[in-house]
Amino acid sequence: MRRTLAIVERELRRFRRTPLLIAVSMIFPIVQLVVLGYAFGGSLKNLKIGIVDQDHGLPGVKIRELAGAIAANARTFQTIEYADPGQALADLRNGRINGVLNIPPGFSRRTLTQQSPRIALIEDNADNFVAGALNSSLGGLVRAYNQQLVGVPRIDSQVTLDVVEIYPYVPYIQYLLPGSIVMSIFMMVMIGGGIIYIDDKARGLHEGYLVTPITKFELIMGFNLSGAIKAVLAGSVLMTIGSLIAGIPDPFEPLRMMRVFVVIVATSLALVSMMFLFMVRVSDPLLPRAVFGVLNTLLFFPSGAVYPPQAFPGWMQVIAAIDPFTYAVHAFKNLLLKDTGITAIAGDLGYLVAFSVVTMTAATLLFRRTL
């Protein structure tokens, strides 16, 4: 253990002398949190929708008035009147507008004679988010229109759904915070652990260790512990700064902070052990830099940090199931967004600890005590 602590001491003394490293590993997750959080967090505004009224009857005018009300209040879209349906479609294809609301000839007559009147939304579905927003907004418009119709009987036997939200509204930036904390841990593990480890190896620094009586386990344990301490620092700093930026309610409540800290420690150990397993037979300093981006994408996105994993295809759900990011993100979401207790994250903690033990054992077995 004394030798393990000597390795840890050496790594941390070096770490203290390179404050730039800390800053660099923190910048990316914070920028990501702020940019993605605010970019994806709000509802879509000021989309452009062309309105083609080929009916010119009173019901059609009513539809246009409702569309005008949305444009003036919710500002989901702006309306542009078209006389020529062909011109509207051409503008849609050229990207000048995002959708066309077509009120066909005879709409008023079908409405008044109750012959299933229809209006059409022709949308640019190349952008699912825009298409979804227009669908939702114009669906609401149609519902509002139907309620205004005179003479439509209320059907009491229709089922209605009342939605009850058990947590306060979660802005996207808060949703993203757990992923950003895990990302900061990962960045520190890669920059402060993996890359430095391989660079030292290439410079021959490890030759100095290998001629001492230190054992494989002591050496790997020393690297893992020092890497984990650095990663815990990074995770804690981002948790603090990120909670303030994202506006997490009561972010410094002691019991929750303690639980979050436990997850940060477990996540750091899991990621640093995984990283050493990847790097244990690597000597080329270019390799960790080359795999950095691949690992980042492969671990971060399937984890549910930016989008619910339930939406992923099967193969990606397999990655998500073994990805330690998934469990870390899940635990942080429970603690930061739902303020749950330790029971809710016990499974995540168990997986992270088991993952650390397995990967560290494998790294120790694969580590060569000779050059």
Binding site: A6, R10, T370
Partner: protein, 330 residues
């Protein structure tokens, strides 16, 4: 029992033999040098003795411990300064030494005493708290030497300890090694491709070439083992047929080698041979373009045993002689 003993030790990397059946012994308190060009197998041999790579065949003991079966015992006995600079540039001189003291389990009290003594020995006391990155190449090498001695090893391995240093720094490292050795009766095994380093520093020298041990003795005896006390290097404007034969008959000449009008003449009496040679050349109308007379060096010993000059061989760096780039498979 000798401090270091090898028996037919061999290292092969696939079909390349880096060290070929080498047998030698180093006694306690000796400074033993492995002299040879890059790629001769010196570093591979020292890495086998310091447990960094396992031998393919043969055996070796260091401090009485087998380098394969009792590697941990070897590691506790030795101090090692690898060829590459392995100090942490960001850490201070004292911190670098301290970390290794802890890796070797040196007690806090003993650490304090040794740290002071070693910093004085390597003349770095006033630089103790300075980061290594601010030190010169020679000072960095001295940090590593102090670091390698912090656990009081009985055997000290140095892989090319003065490579890349200026002449003044090299002499300073030699002086420091002599002082350390004298103080603790340390056994030192070093590799070098500097002839003067091997000559002036080592009690005995083993000359290696292409993985083989070609000669082993004290520098004095090695130089005495080859013909001539002096070596004349001479070049002529031209040479007539039979010129080598005529030079062989000059006074005190023991051996003549060379071609293309440039010759090396081993002589038991340099001045007498020089005088006779100049007279013979003048009489034959041959211009002597250059002439140098020098005492026999280890380079001459290397030439004698290998047929090549050591300084020429130094230009050929071997890809197998660069630390972590060693092939991993045996």
């Amino acid at each position: 029992m000798s401090e270091i003993e090898t028996h037919q030790i061999t290292k092969r990397f696939r079909d390349f033999t880096a060290v070929n059946e080498i047998t030698f012994a180093v006694e306690r308190g000796e400074i033993f040098g492995l002299l040879g060009p890059n790629g001769a197998g010196k570093s591979t041999l020292i890495r086998m003795l310091t447990t960094l790579i396992p031998p393919t065949a043969g055996s070796a003991t260091v401090g009485g411990f087998d380098v394969v079966r009792q590697a941990d015992g070897v590691r506790r006995t030795i101090g090692v300064i690898p060829q590459a600079t392995t100090s942490d540039m960001e850490l201070s001189v004292e911190e670098n030494i301290l970390i290794f003291a802890k890796l070797y389990g040196v007690s806090r009290e003993r650490r304090k005493v040794l740290m002071k003594e070693l910093l004085e020995a390597v003349e770095l006391t006033q630089w103790a708290d300075k980061p290594v990155k601010f030190l010169s190449g020679g000072m960095r090498r001295r940090v590593e030497i102090a670091r390698g001695l912090i656990h009081e090893p009985s055997i000290f391995f140095l892989d090319e300890p003065t490579t890349g240093l200026d002449p003044v720094s090299r002499v300073a490292v030699w002086d420091m090694l002599r002082r350390v050795k004298a103080r603790s009766n340390l056994t030192v095994l070093l590799t070098t491709h500097y002839m003067d380093e091997a000559d002036k520093l080592c009690d005995r020298v083993a000359i290696m070439d292409h993985g083989n041990l070609v000669a082993l003795d004290s520098p004095l005896k090695l130089k005495a083992s080859i013909p001539g006390k002096n070596i004349l290097e001479v070049s002529f404007s031209h040479t007539p047929p039979g010129w080598v034969e005529r030079m062989n008959h000059l006074p005190s000449v023991e051996k003549v080698t060379g071609e293309d009008s440039i010759y090396r003449i081993a002589s038991a009496n340099g001045p007498a041979t020089t005088l006779a040679l100049m007279e013979m050349a003048a009489g034959a109308g041959i211009e002597v373009r250059s002439l140098s007379v020098q005492s026999t060096t280890l380079d001459d010993v290397f030439v004698h045993y290998t047929g090549r000059q050591l300084r020429d061989e130094l230009q050929e760096a071997s890809p197998l002689d660069t630390g972590f780039m060693l092939p991993q498979r045996r």
